[in-house]
Amino acid sequence: MRVTFTANGKPVEADDVWEGESLLYVLRERVGLPGSKNACEQGECGSCTVYLDGTPVCSCLVAAGQVQGREVRTVEGLSDENGELGLVQQAFIDAGAVQCGFCTPGLLVQTDALLDADAQPSDTDIREALSGNLCRCTGYEKIMDAVRLASARKCAKAASE
């Protein structure tokens, strides 16, 4: 089948999609957006998290056909049009929250969504919001630092505007 949808603001189409293919497979192998990662393909690790019509979802659990005509935003879409890193992306680098980095794309999308909903989450709020994203390298401390840093920068930016 043919699937057409919007990925990071641009229309895309994929042909000869087998009906069992996931959105994750279509993004990675057909559309040239391999940023979303394939770690468990069971919705357990969060590495493949993308926005679907503005809501974070595990793209491994979404059948490709379900995204027909809808809007997908991936980690590749967190930078602005000029390629400038988004605030959450920069915070993860600055805090040392990236080690092997395989979990990073999913965590970035989930953190972006968290801070959109609540720019100043408590530590417990952060842990609750990110509890679906596994990281095996960092011990999560630097990830907590990164989210706190992104939150502080976001609030400072809002205050200055």
């Binding site: 087998w18 069992g20 293919e21 497979y25 990675r28 192998e29 040239g32 957006l33 391999p34 940023g35 979303s36 990662k37 394939n38 770690a39 468990c40 393909e41 069971q42 357990e44 690790c45 590495s47 991936t74 980690v75 590749e76 967190l78 930078s79 890193l85 992306q89 920069q90 993860f92 680098i93 600055d94 040392g96 990236v98 080690q99 092997c100 980095g101 395989f102 979990c103 990073t104 794309p105 970035l108 417990t124 952060i126 842990r127 609750e128 990110l130 509890s131 679906g132 994203n133 596994l134 990281c135 095996r136 390298c137 960092t138 011990g139 999560y140 401390e141 630097k142 990830i143 907590m144």
Partner: protein, 786 residues
């Protein structure tokens, strides 16, 4: 054939952006920007325009004879390009890290659940999956050999490897054994010197590395008949060494390039998909990509050895250890992998960082029909640490002494001897590290008035409002070796090139070091900047065009490859200065490189490096071998077997719901001596990550194997700590230089995984009063409803 990987070149370009800090600073990762953009090319992101997908058929039985394999139906499926069995292997059919006992594809029998029997290449992963299902295998299923008793009675239960199949290793179903005797050993006379004797059995379950990036890579057939493989691994050269004989190729026709690695932790030290993808590429003449699904990852790599241990300690009433006697049985599973080295570690490190005048130890690894076990962070030291630290707490309780005080009283320090007779010739601040974690402030007590139930055990499930919650505190300390031991010629190679690019001096560092997330690429640039006084450093992609870097394991890469980069950079520096002496006749003895200039420390700048270099590049390669070690004597365990030791102490604070058996670690504190922190940000990240894997082993992580069959090969059923399960991990970093190591550094990554598990269990014991002799601790162990 030219190779086009989707983003491999971008990896290189971005890494080439320099940052400015030298050693001791914390410059940001050169690959960080690509990683947060989602543009970093991991091995599973490799892509080639006409590539095929490879997949393996795996055994559903832990032990069976293969009567027949029929691939005809699979071959008929449209889109299938090849189906191969062991009969199609052009070269040697066996490989292995230390012992070549593992068939690349099963021959006539399978020895573990998940062993690969046949491989398929097809035009879509789903086609490959369907083809795998069409392969018909006729088995004669046999009773698996899975318990210690079965393994040690092969005449009754059979052999995992028939005696005639052994080459130089093992006997019966014992893959490797190591004994150790120190002081007077353990006799009745020595036992009589102790006032209190404690003897207990301990058990450790099978832990998995559970790296997030699945085993994957792309094999591309080359015009010269060779193979170019882009792969996630821990050691490019040892992969090649194992692959080439199987592919029937000389080593120089097997070229490996490191693709992005999504974590490793020991699980990528053995081969996984490397040979299979290469065989399929050879046969089809097309690039072949293999990406394991998560269940295949659980089947396709070795795990941490599960262990059964018996420990006996004697102590005087005033807290002096008199003797220690231990037996450690590690289940190595079907193939040897790194079991011999794991046994050596367990035996030599198995009594912990304590001065014990009389010691006896026996450690063995079994062959069984359970999944193969090999390298995982902590490598043989983890299992023993759970046992000896549990013993320390029991001994302290028995004589009415504070458990930290008992440890400190017996703690080894610089100048003391290991039970192997090896004198520790660098700082060993065991007592100090314990004091440091003890002195750190405790988290506030549980406040039932202002409770957020999300912080309780069970957290989001809203299982409690504070009733039935008991808090406990535990302590631990551990010891781990750094680098490869027992006479292995452990070395690494680095090539450093200095040249003028765009009017600036630029250093290029080329090694075969596997960057698996640990941050070696950052540290190499820091070293080159420090030694050569330049700002711009580029890191060449890791590949087999340069000499071996050894493995990214054993906490050794900064020590070994970092050392090689230092020596190569020093050689480049010396060559440049010599060039200046010849040209300008400098006579000063204090010439060095700094800020892009050749400078005399007394007389100031002499000449800009760009002027002295001109169009000429200085390109030198150096190896770093650590000082030699020797194998342990097989019967006595004596010998200078390890090159460096590293120590970490922990304190855990836990809340336990004693009604439901649920545990929440409230805080996990670490104090570690790192010798010299080349990049403090990375060092702390390593310690926190290592503690978290220890937390996983303490309370949740276990591959459940029943009758040889794996029951939980998924992230749904194999649990690793989430951000909700993981507490704040304050780190107190001590820097006491090791005079034998480059920059005085000490390997970092593994020690916390050795030490942090027992303190969490100790804290649960303190909260519950339960003995807890097995990890991971499960709810039923706490509630007593087993």
């Amino acid at each position: 054939m030219s190779t086009r990987t989707i983003q491999g070149e971008k990896n290189l370009q971005d890494i080439r952006q320099a940052s400015k800090d030298g050693i001791g600073g914390s410059p940001l990762r050169p690959d960080g920007t690509l990683k947060v953009r989602g543009e970093f090319a991991y091995s599973s992101d490799m892509w080639h325009e006409d590539m095929l997908w490879g997949m393996a058929l795996r055994s559903p039985h832990p032990r069976a004879d293969i009567l027949s394999v029929d691939i005809s139906e699979a071959l008929k499926l449209p889109g299938v390009y090849a189906v191969l069995t062991h009969e199609d292997i052009p070269g040697s059919k066996f490989y292995g890290l230390e012992i070549q006992d593992q068939p690349a594809l099963a021959i006539d029998k399978v020895r573990y659940h998940g062993e690969a029997i046949a491989i398929v290449a097809a035009d879509h992963p789903e086609t490959a999956r369907r083809a795998v299902k069409k392969i018909k295998v006729e088995y004669e299923v046999l009773n698996p050999i899975v318990t210690e008793e079965q393994c040690l009675a092969p005449e009754i239960h059979g052999y995992v490897h028939e005696p005639h199949e052994y080459k130089s290793h093992g006997s019966g179903n014992i893959c490797h054994s190591q004994k150790l005797v120190h002081g007077g050993g353990v006799t009745d006379e020595i036992r009589a010197l102790a006032d209190v004797i404690i003897k207990s059995d301990y058990e450790v379950g099978m832990q998995d590395q559970a790296f997030l990036g699945p085993e994957s890579g792309l094999a591309v057939p080359a015009e010269d008949g060779g193979i170019d493989l882009y792969v996630a691994t821990q050691w490019l050269h040892v992969d090649r060494q194992q692959m080439a004989p199987v592919l029937g190729l000389p080593e120089d026709k097997v070229r490996l390039t490191l693709a992005g690695v999504g974590g490793a932790f020991g699980g990528r030290e053995d081969l996984s998909m490397q040979i299979h993808a290469s065989l399929l590429a050879q046969r089809t003449g097309k690039p072949v990509k293999i990406v394991y699904a998560r269940d295949e990852s659980f089947f396709g790599h070795v795990h941490r050895h599960p262990a059964k241990m018996t420990y006996e300690h004697g102590v005087t009433r005033d807290g002096r250890l008199v003797f220690a006697d231990a037996r450690i049985v590690l289940d190595g599973g079907a193939y040897a992998s790194a079991s011999p080295a794991v046994v050596g570690n367990a035996a030599s490190l198995g009594h912990g960082p304590y001065n014990i005048p009389n010691v006896r130890m026996e450690a063995i690894a079994l062959y069984s029909n359970n999944p193969s076990c090999g390298a995982m962070r902590g490598f043989g030291a983890v299992q023993a640490a759970f046992a000896y630290e549990s013993q320390m707490d029991k001994l302290a309780e028995a004589i009415g002494m504070d458990p930290v005080e008992l440890r400190q009283l017996n703690a080894m320090s610089e100048g003391d001897s290991m039970p192997t007779g090896q004198v520790i010739d660098s700082p060993a601040p065991v007592a100090e590290l314990l004091q440091r974690v003890k002195d750190m402030p405790l988290p506030p007590p549980l406040d039932l008035e202002n409770l957020d139930v999300r912080t309780l055990p069970g957290a989001l499930s809203n299982t409690s409002h504070g009733e039935g919650i008991v808090r406990g505190i535990g302590y631990s300390v551990g010891i781990k070796n750094v680098g490869f031991s027992e006479g292995f010629d452990d070395y690494s190679t680095a090539r450093v090139r200095l040249e003028v690019i765009g009017g600036e001096p630029v250093a290029m560092v080329h090694t075969a070091m596997a960057e698996v997330g640990q941050g070696g690429v950052t540290v190499h640039a820091q070293i080159a900047r420090t030694e050569l006084g330049v700002e711009q450093v580029t890191i060449h992609p890791a590949n087999t065009e340069v000499g071996s870097a050894g493995s990214t394991s054993a906490s050794r890469q900064t020590y070994m490859t970092g050392g090689a980069v230092k020596y190569a950079a020093e050689a480049v520096k010396a060559a440049l200065i010599e060039k200046g002496r010849r040209r300008y006749g400098w006579t000063q003895s204090d010439i060095t490189l700094s800020g892009g200039k050749v400078v005399s420390e007394s007389a100031g700048p002499l000449v800009p490096m760009v002027d002295l270099l001109g169009d000429e590049a200085i390109d030198l390669t150096r190896e770093h071998h650590h000082r030699p070690t020797v194998p342990f004597d097989k019967e006595t365990g004596q010998g200078f077997g390890h090159v460096q030791y590293t120590f970490c102490a922990n304190r855990a604070v836990v809340d336990v719901d004693v009604e439901l058996g649920l545990v929440k670690v409230v805080e996990l504190t670490a104090a570690q001596d790192v010798g010299k922190a080349l990049n403090p940000l990375s060092v702390i990240g390593q310690i926190q990550g290592g503690c978290t894997q220890a937390l996983g082993l303490a309370v949740m992580e276990e591959i459940i194997v029943k009758d040889g069959k794996v029951r939980n090969a998924s992230f749904t059923d194999y649990l690793i700590p989430t951000i909700l399960d993981t507490p704040p991990i304050p780190v107190d970093m001590l820097e006491l230089p090791d005079p034998n190591a480059p920059y005085g550094l000490r390997g970092v990554g593994e020690a916390p995984t050795v030490s942090a598990t027992p303190c969490i269990v100790a804290a649960i014991r303190q909260a519950t009063g339960k003995a807890l002799h097995r990890i991971p601790v499960r709810p039923e162990h706490i509630t007593g409803t087993l």
